[in-house]
């Protein structure tokens, strides 16, 4: 089996999941009028289109239509099917009108369809994995690249500028924290922040008086990486999460990215260290090409080959962390449906095997394919 077809299926399920499993019918005739509820619902949310009041608050399962074409699975992940409350097994007799409305993967304790939640899980896993790897990749490439390219000796500043930079950074930290403290609505603080920014820009363009000293970029960044790596990922995540009072999915994504950038940064650093001493980079430096352009155009494309491998592994790691969080019931906003949160219910109802088998299988499959992809990329690179 080709790996890429699996990814196509996953991406399709993630993007069009709402078109496959939805309590809203695809097309319906209600009180003599035609509706396309699934397509129209975003417009209704924006207020561009109006629906009858029964649609707005109504339970779609209990409405009677003159005619309707359902989606493949006529339940949303959040839909509560009152006829099949309390853990209906997939093989058990279910109280549904026809085979169409059957719960093919059973229901959970409050009567939600497991299959449609399972399909929603693809979107959750994919978006959390993708976005966290994207953010972690940006952080990792930037910081790892700085550490690798400049090393301990190439990042040179005059003593005066280094001092100014240090003071400026402390000040910037102060102003930002003061901004948070006053909820960003104090005018004098805003003026100060603006002045601080201008001062920073001006000091950047100051002439270089006096001797230059090398700032040990590599040492500083490696220290930070070492510090973050010393804490096991899940522990760190659990330590950071309570800082956010009501965590949303995006907070979780950022936190996972914050934990994952170190692995990418270490690899980028090693690659940059290797490539920066190659002859073509040295000649580019002799030609006085801007450092940023050297890094971006000449080093990074060369390092990218091995970077994709870590991206694949980080993706898998992010999916696993998200599943852990969902399973432990910590951090994810309540009511979020993901594979982990579905599996969490098994802890209370150990006899409901279908809540463990299917979501777990999806996690296993995505991890397996990502690992396999990483392995293939590795083989390609070597």
């Amino acid at each position: 089996m080709k790996l890429k077809y699996f990814f196509y299926v996953v991406i399709f399920l993630a993007v069009f999941g709402d078109w496959i499993a939805n309590e809203k019918p695809f097309f319906c005739i209600y009180e003599g009028k035609n509706y396309f509820p699934i397509i129209e619902s975003p417009f209704v949310k924006l207020g561009w289109k109006k629906w009858p009041a029964t649609f707005q608050n109504g339970n779609w399962l209990e409405l009677t239509f003159q005619k309707k074409i359902n989606t493949l699975i006529p339940y949303s992940p959040e839909t509560i099917d009152r006829n099949n409350l309390g853990l209906k097994s997939p093989f058990e007799a279910q109280n549904t009108k026809s085979l169409w409305g059957r719960h093919w993967m059973g229901t959970d304790r409050i009567g939600r369809d497991v299959l449609s939640g399972w399909i929603r899980g693809f979107r959750m896993a994919l978006s959390i994995g993708f976005l966290s790897v994207l953010i972690a990749g940006m952080m990792g490439i930037f910081l790892g690249g700085m550490a690798g390219y400049y090393g301990n000796e190439r990042f040179k500043l005059t003593i005066i500028k280094a001092g100014i930079l240090l003071i400026w950074l402390i000040g910037a930290f102060f102003w930002i924290s003061l901004g948070f403290e006053t909820q960003w609505n104090s005018k004098p603080i805003f003026y100060w922040q603006f002045i601080w920014l201008i001062l920073g820009v001006i000091s950047f363009y100051l002439p270089n008086w006096g001797n230059k000293i090398a700032i040990p970029m590599d040492w500083i960044i490696s220290l930070v990486i070492q510090a973050i790596d010393a804490i096991p990922a899940l522990f760190f995540l659990l330590a950071l999460l309570p800082m956010i009072k009501i965590p949303g999915i995006f907070d979780v994504i950022i936190l996972i990215a914050f934990l994952r950038w170190t692995g990418i940064a270490r690899l980028v650093r090693a690659e940059f260290l290797r490539i920066r001493d190659l002859e073509y980079i040295q000649s580019a430096r002799l030609l006085k090409i801007n450092n940023i352009i050297i890094c971006w155009k000449h080093i990074l494309p060369n390092a990218m080959g091995s970077l994709w491998i870590t991206f694949a592994y980080s993706f898998a790691g992010a999916i696993l962390l998200e599943a852990y969080l969902g399973y432990l019931g910590i951090g994810m906003p309540s009511g979020t449906i993901s594979w982990g949160s579905q599996m969490q219910q098994v802890r209370e109802n150990p006899s409901a095997w279908w809540l463990a088998v299917f979501p777990g299988f999806a996690i296993f499959l995505s991890l397996f394919c990502l690992q396999k992809m990483g392995e293939k990329l590795e083989a390609k690179a070597s």
């Binding site: 102060f174 004098p188 510090a227 659990l238 432990l328 098994v346 777990g360 392995e375």
Partner: protein, 468 residues
């Protein structure tokens, strides 16, 4: 070599110190009102003290918990905030006074305002006229927790007959209030001014305590964190130790076997199988096993979800080795198979890598026996990276064991962490995270040292890299 070691260890200590600072501030940020929590847990949730009079009680409690000190060695605060501002303990008073201070920018005036309020309250307290005193007490308690000056003024506008006995105090408060509403912080009042507090601060105390082995008490049930850890650590060690041991025991022969087998199509499938095993999340298999264990019938009669307390009380491994190991078998299996699969693949690839080395070719041309070749020349070199790998595995294993412990209800460190989190026992959580990260860092450095000691080539390049 020595220089490399010293450098490595000093950066490690530095990074652990940074971690400890981060965790300390996280704890302070997250924990909320520790005094209230403590008092609640000591008095069974019945904690009510009168506002205005509350400050004294609260302060005494805070002093007992050493919370009356500054947070850190130094602070950076706007000029209008005095350097002794942290001394205000009562959170509501702190909030109101800070709001008033940020509005007016005049600390002596704010202090004078609260002083006059307290004086007023004390005077009201001494009067005999009960209706008057009740009226004013309620009024003052209401006003004391307001920060909006116009509303305070409107609240203090009372009928003449009520105001008359306390004429002087009312006038004083009103003059201070009008002064307060006339002043605003100047532009330069917002400039940051550093303050140095010295060693008598909360962080220093916490850090010294942890270094000297005193991990404090849990804010939830008042037990020593040390005792909690002492109970939990053996379980985690048992599970992780058995998992690592079994995984190595399985993966060494399997890896060698796989490396020596001729390449056929089915070896590829075995590789895929190993990858699949590795990708199977342990908590999935764990919950499936749990489903099996709790189904009716005697499938896993040796395992019971509540069997841990029994083992704990009856002396664990020493007194009852067989029930103990049987009880551990399911969680250990969950943690072992993935690691074993990974290590097998790793062993195989490193064995094959060593086989391609020129010195192996040389040994072959010498005509030594295959057995001798594999076990004298290849194996020691192939095992080396595996041994070093163990330290890198430990953090991932600890992470995995958290979920496994939660699933199988093992009273180990992972479940302690999750339970403490869910019951908001932050002092345990953060002390615990710090300890685990110390252990992990030590493991990482140990693996580095092992690697450097065992391989002269790495030793040379490590010193060289550090030198430039």
């Amino acid at each position: 070599m020595l220089i490399y070691l010293v450098k490595r260890i000093s950066t490690l200590i530095l990074s652990l110190w940074i971690i400890s600072i981060c965790l300390f501030f996280l704890q302070k940020n997250v924990a909320g009102d520790i005094v209230m929590l403590q008092s609640k847990s000591r008095s069974n949730g019945q904690f009510y003290i009168h506002p205005l009079a509350a400050e004294k009680v609260y302060r005494a409690e805070a002093v007992r918990l050493n919370l009356h000190r500054p947070l850190f060695y130094f602070s950076l605060k706007a000029r209008l905030i005095p350097d002794t501002f942290y001394q205000i303990q009562y959170p509501e008073a702190f909030k109101i006074q800070k709001e008033l201070l940020l509005q007016s920018g005049n600390w002596p005036l704010v202090q004078a305002y609260f002083q006059s309020l307290t004086n007023f309250y004390n005077k009201v307290d001494q009067t005999e006229n009960s209706s008057l005193s009740i009226f004013w007490k309620e009024k003052l308690q209401e006003v004391a927790y307001l920060s909006d000056l116009p509303t305070i003024k409107s609240k203090l506008k009372v009928p003449k007959e009520m105001e008359l006995p306390f004429d002087v105090e009312c006038k004083e408060i009103n003059t201070i209030l009008s002064k307060l509403s006339n002043t605003t912080p100047s532009f330069f009042d917002w400039f940051p001014i550093p303050h140095w507090y010295g060693l008598k601060n909360q962080y220093h105390e916490w850090f010294i305590n942890i270094i000297s082995g005193d991990f404090g008490t849990s804010t939830r049930d008042g037990r020593l964190v040390k005792d909690k850890l002492k109970e939990a650590i053996p379980w985690t060690l048992w599970v992780n130790g058995l998992a690592i041991g079994l995984a190595y025991l399985f993966s060494f022969p399997m890896g060698i076997l796989m490396a020596l087998l001729p390449k056929r199509i089915w070896t590829k499938w075995i590789n895929n199988l190993l990858l699949g095993l590795y990708a199977m999340p342990a908590f999935w298999i764990g919950s499936l096993l749990l489903v099996q264990a709790t189904l009716p019938g005697d499938r896993f009669s040796f395992f019971s979800i509540s069997g841990w307390t029994y083992l704990q009380q009856n002396g664990g491994f020493i007194n009852q080795p067989i029930p103990f190991l049987l009880q551990l078998s399911l969680p250990v299996f969950c943690m072992t198979y993935g690691l074993a699969a990974y290590l097998t693949g790793y062993m195989q690839s490193s064995f094959l890598k060593v086989l391609k080395e020129p010195y192996i070719l040389y040994a072959r041309t010498k005509g030594i026996s295959k057995f001798r070749l594999y076990f004298r020349h290849v194996l020691p070199n192939a095992i080396l990276p595996q041994i070093v790998f163990i330290a890198g595995v430990i953090p991932a294993l600890i992470t995995g064991s958290v979920v496994i412990e939660v699933i199988f209800n093992i009273p180990g460190m992972g479940r302690l962490l999750i339970d403490s989190m869910l019951s908001q026992d932050w002092s345990t959580v953060y002390t615990f995270v710090l300890l685990v990260s110390c252990l992990t860092a030590l493991g990482l450095i140990l693996s580095d040292i092992l690697l450097v000691l065992s391989d002269p080539r790495i030793r040379f390049s490590a010193t060289k890299n550090e030198g430039t």
